[in-house]
């Protein structure tokens, strides 16, 4: 097996034992980026020299017997919305094309402290708004399984780079499915942790009450490894939760005895593609064969989740993105004759159409006279959705279902139909609205050769349960080992 095809856990053990240097490993992934990313376009920014220098320093420290961090020498790709000192942090937007933060996001600081090698910045939908990576202001990312198709989004680059073995580990963000959906489209494992599990400090905000950073990797074990490094309380984020981080990597091999799985019959309706339906049902049988019991459950307010999500997220976004007005942040237009003119031209030029659409939606919904009917109502729906999950989790340990209604669609296919794009999120937004955790794992390949994802959701702070369930599945199946054919 070639170096880059190994899992992060395997690579780490070789790095630790001295069989492998970070320079060799980082070099191998950089070579693969060189070879493949011209076609996939998963990265927005790769500083090979800086990555090699970092790898070299970690190797030398190890040789000198200095203590090595948890990920010492391991390359990690970072979605281009995590602030990193002196590294362009663009959010795939013209608005932040020239933004180089003077500070590190907490997750970046934790990766650095763990001696990870920051190998590159991955592409995304502009400001994480979108599900296809087509909304990047710079270029779309292609699905390594089929270059004509989208990799999912918004963390499209983050998932595609792992699928194409251009990075062993990658950090994404998930506001309504933005880690899990691309993980499903690209045939990799991706987790949205519980809201508050991972610090948001330094994550350029889309929707603050929904955003959560999470790991994307080849396997559940690798996912556990990365989560262990990035999770934990942060004094810089009031919404991060002060709760110890379990040793996910130590418990992940344990079987979940007497696992109770819940399925939501409505999730298997007309919207669901037949092949996805079949793959998910087959996966549930795999769990049954491992001793799980399956039970139908109801999430009665689930049908309102997309509607509530597309009020709450744009409302928060309209506030979060107000700072890009050309005064302190964001592109400033060249031509202006008044303050208001400068604001409006700068924002017109700097934001792409989807971002504008959501800012307008949010601004409208928060306006006096509409607030109660839209925002407040959406918050009430959100509370009901959370209650639905609470009740469901009284009866079952996990909720299992599809991640997305279909495998990856063609680039451009839904470009003129934002509503159908929004409806693509119907299985994933509930997790964010409820603040619980969810994971997407590969569970099949369609007739057209496209990966299909399985969605597992667990109650708040039950990441360990999710990871053990995912690992159980991956020990019984080999979907996660399938790889797109090299170019």
């Amino acid at each position: 097996m070639s170096l880059i095809d190994q899992t992060a856990v395997e690579l780490l053990s070789n790095l630790t034992s001295g069989n492998l240097t970070s320079v060799e490993l980082t070099g191998a992934f950089l070579d693969e980026i060189e070879r493949r990313d011209g076609a996939v376009k998963a990265f927005l920014h790769v500083d090979a020299d800086a990555a090699m220098a970092q790898a070299d320093e970690i190797d030398r420290n190890r040789t000198a017997g200095k203590p090595a961090g948890r990920l010492a020498g391991m390359p990690v790709a970072v979605k281009d919305l995590l602030c990193t000192v002196d590294v362009p942090t663009t959010c795939a937007s013209r608005m932040l094309e020239n933004f180089c933060p003077p500070y590190d996001a907490t997750v970046v600081a934790r990766l650095k402290a763990a001696d990870a090698v920051l190998i590159g910045r991955t592409n995304m939908d502009e400001f994480a708004m979108g599900g296809s990576c087509e909304n990047s202001a710079f270029h779309p990312t292609h699905n390594p399984w089929d270059m004509d198709r989208i990799p999912g989004g918004s963390s499209g680059g983050a998932a595609a780079c792992v699928a194409a073995r251009m990075a062993p580990l990658s950090i994404g963000s998930d506001t309504g499915g933005s880690i899990r959906s691309p993980a499903a489209m690209c045939g990799v494992t991706g987790m949205k942790p519980t809201y508050g599990r991972v610090s948001r400090y330094g994550l350029v905000a889309f929707a603050s009450s929904l955003d959560q950073l999470g790991p994307i990797a080849q396997t559940a074990e690798d996912t556990a490894l990365l989560l262990e490094v990035i999770a934990g309380h942060d004094l810089m984020d009031s919404t991060s939760v002060d709760r110890p981080v379990p040793k996910y990597t130590e418990t992940i091999g344990r079987l979940l005895e007497g696992l109770r799985i819940g399925i939501v019959p409505e999730h298997f309706g007309d919207a669901l593609d037949d092949e996805v339906d079949a793959a998910v049902r087959e996966s549930i049988r795999v769990y049954e064969s491992l001793g799980a019991t399956v039970k139908n459950i109801s999430l009665p307010h689930g049908k309102y989740a997309v509607a509530a999500y597309y009020i709450i997220a744009p409302c928060e976004a309209s506030g979060n993105l107000a700072r890009y007005d050309g005064v302190h942040y964001g592109r400033r237009t060249d031509e202006h004759d008044s303050l208001i003119g400068m604001y409006s031209r700068s924002r017109s030029e700097g934001f792409g159409p989807e971002v504008k659409r959501r800012i307008m939606l949010g601004t409208y919904a928060l306006s006096s006279g509409y607030y109660d009917a839209y925002y407040l109502k959406a918050l009430k729906v959100r509370r009901l959705i959370r209650q639905d999950f609470d009740r469901a989790f009284d009866q079952v340990d996990l909720i299992v279902g599809p991640v997305a209604p279909t495998p990856a669609f063609k680039i451009g296919e839904k470009a003129d139909d934002p509503l159908s794009m929004y409806l693509f999120d119907l299985y994933t937004v509930g997790t964010n609205l409820a603040g619980i955790c969810g994971i997407s794992i590969p569970c099949g390949i369609s007739g057209a050769g496209l990966p299909i994802g399985l969605h597992l959701q667990a109650p708040t702070f039950e990441e360990e349960r999710l990871l053990r369930a995912a690992a159980m599945f991956q020990r019984a199946t080999d979907w996660h080992t399938r790889k797109p054919s090299p170019v």
Binding site: L81, L82, C83, T89, C91, L96, F99, P101, P102, Y103, A105, R200, Y201, G202, L203, V204, A205, A207, S208, S209, L235, M236, D237, S238, T239, C315, E316, S318, G319, L321, A322, R323, Y324, D325, V327, H328, Y329, L339, Y343, T363, L366, S367, S368, Y371, Y375
Partner: protein, 490 residues
């Protein structure tokens, strides 16, 4: 006060809290540093940053709210007030909208000169918010150039909104004076209007009695007042202006939108700044970056316990314990807690509150004013002043002699006795004084004769001579002894 209208005034006061660091980050709040040197990614709203609440600012707010007799809801939250302005880098201000940390309080005000009846001014709410930065418009040399200083951005402000309970500019000034005093006693703010740590906006209109009934004029918000005196004058001006406009136009509340006027200190007039034609929509919504704050009974009790004795209670105590007038207690308490403590020590040392109050008001305050210092820097200790007053009271010094002694004490740092010794002032015993008087009477038979004829005033000349012979004589005593001796001769 026979105006044909009633003035209705409500005030919004922004107070900068005396925290060392800002409301949502650890930057310093110090005033007067070079522009943009007290900033960090958080307070300048850099993408990705998050606010974290300063507990101290919350505690100071709670303390103030309790002192203002407010209800403290057990749950309060943060909201974003959204508007675009170059000195607001995030595009929103973190404030409190529908669930402020306190509400429904009051502040009692009274006037020691009895210009108005004592009353309570209702407090609608007091809430915490972050300050914006400062825009500086430099229009030198015809080039309009705006610069932004973000040092102030994120500084904690407590906004205290009163009910429209004030009925005259004098009441408004009394409310502000009392509020400032209270904030000083609580040590929650330095209340420096020049440095912007206390800012006042006023809402004012008139209720005019007409044959058709009471008519309200449109409400005007008055801004840009840089002293309490300016507030009083601006409101006086504005009330008159509104009455004149009403006489001219007959416009009532609701006929025109609420407008904002700025006080022009030089011209002593208010000028319209902008009409709130379309009242701005701030699109408030709960800030998802901050967790709501649950205020506990324990926190409230701790705040209450930390208040100390507040101005209103202190005034009453001084009046009752030291038997001084409301006017005197007002003057002393208004000087601040240090002065009250000084006064109490002086009064206790000399055993009499009234002269202690007089000496402080007439002599000590004058020196403090001349030297622009506070009582802490005053060179005569309370004990020493008390001793001096005791000597005057015992008749061992005249008041004017006492003043000279006080000046010497202030200059030299000596005690009263030492200063007197240094000045050659000795107490004359009664027999020495009697000898002196007898000597004078013997030397001035004509005066003695005049007195015998009933012209008691003539004694005055003897007092003058006595003082020349010995500056330590007590004139009143000289007069008494001389009269007694003449009486005896008869």
């Amino acid at each position: 006060m026979n105006k044909p209208y009633t003035t209705i005034i409500g005030l919004e006061v922004h107070v900068q809290l005396a925290t060392r660091s800002k409301l949502f980050c650890s930057c310093s709040t110090r005033f007067g540093s070079p522009p943009n040197t007290q900033t960090c990614p958080v307070c300048i709203g850099m993408p990705g940053t998050l606010p974290v609440m300063n507990r101290k600012a919350f505690e100071l707010s709670l303390k103030t709210a309790v002192a203002l007799n407010c209800e403290i809801p057990r749950f309060t939250k943060w909201d974003r007030k959204q508007y675009y302005y170059p000195d607001l880098p995030k595009g929103y201000q973190i404030s409190q909208f529908d669930l402020p940390l306190s509400q429904n309080g009051y502040l009692p005000i009274s006037d020691s000169k009895n210009q108005f009846e004592p009353k309570r001014i209702g407090i609608i709410r007091a809430h915490l918010e972050e300050d914006a930065g400062k825009s500086m418009h430099d229009e030198a040399a015809g080039v309009a150039d705006s610069r932004i200083d973000l040092n102030r951005c994120g500084t904690p402000l407590l906004e205290i909104v009163s009910e429209p309970d004030m009925r005259s500019p004098a009441e408004a000034k009394a409310y502000l004076t009392e509020l400032k005093l209270l904030l000083n006693y609580l040590e929650v703010s330095d209340c420096n209007m020049q440095e912007g740590s206390l800012r006042v906006d006023a809402n004012i209109n008139l209720h005019i009695d007409t044959p058709e009934g009471k008519i309200a004029t449109p409400i005007v918000e008055v801004k840009n007042m840089n002293s309490f005196r300016a507030v009083e004058r601006a409101l006086e001006y504005e009330a008159k202006r509104q009455y004149e406009v009403w006489q001219e136009t007959g416009r009532k509340l609701g006929d025109v939108p609420k407008s904002t006027h700025g006080w022009d200190e030089q011209a002593q007039v208010t000028r319209e700044q902008r009409s709130k034609e379309e009242s701005s929509d701030y699109r408030y919504f709960p800030d998802p970056d901050l967790v709501p704050v649950a205020t506990t009974d324990e926190q409230i009790e701790r705040a209450r316990a930390s208040l100390g004795e507040l101005p209103a209670a202190l005034r009453t105590r001084l009046e009752q314990t030291y038997n001084i007038t409301p006017y005197d207690s007002d003057v002393l308490v208004n000087q601040g807690r240090d002065m009250v403590e000084y006064y109490i020590e002086v009064a206790d040392a000399c055993g009499d509150g009234k002269p202690a109050s007089n000496w402080i008001q007439q002599d000590v305050l004058r020196t403090l004013g001349e030297r622009q210092i506070g009582i802490a820097q005053y060179g005569v200790s309370a004990k020493a002043l008390g001793e001096l007053i005791g000597l005057v009271k015992a008749g061992k010094l005249t008041t004017s002699r006492g003043r000279e002694v006080l000046a010497e004490m202030l200059a030299s740092g000596k005690s009263a006795e030492e200063a007197m010794k240094g000045m050659g002032i000795e107490h004359l015993d009664e027999s020495a004084l009697e000898d002196l008087c007898r000597e004078l009477l013997n030397a001035n038979p004509r005066i003695v004769a005049e007195v015998k004829e009933g012209k008691q005033k003539a004694i005055g000349a003897l007092i003058g001579q006595a003082k020349k012979k010995n500056p330590n004589v007590n004139p009143a005593r000289v007069r008494e002894i001389c009269l007694e001796l003449i009486e005896k001769e008869n």
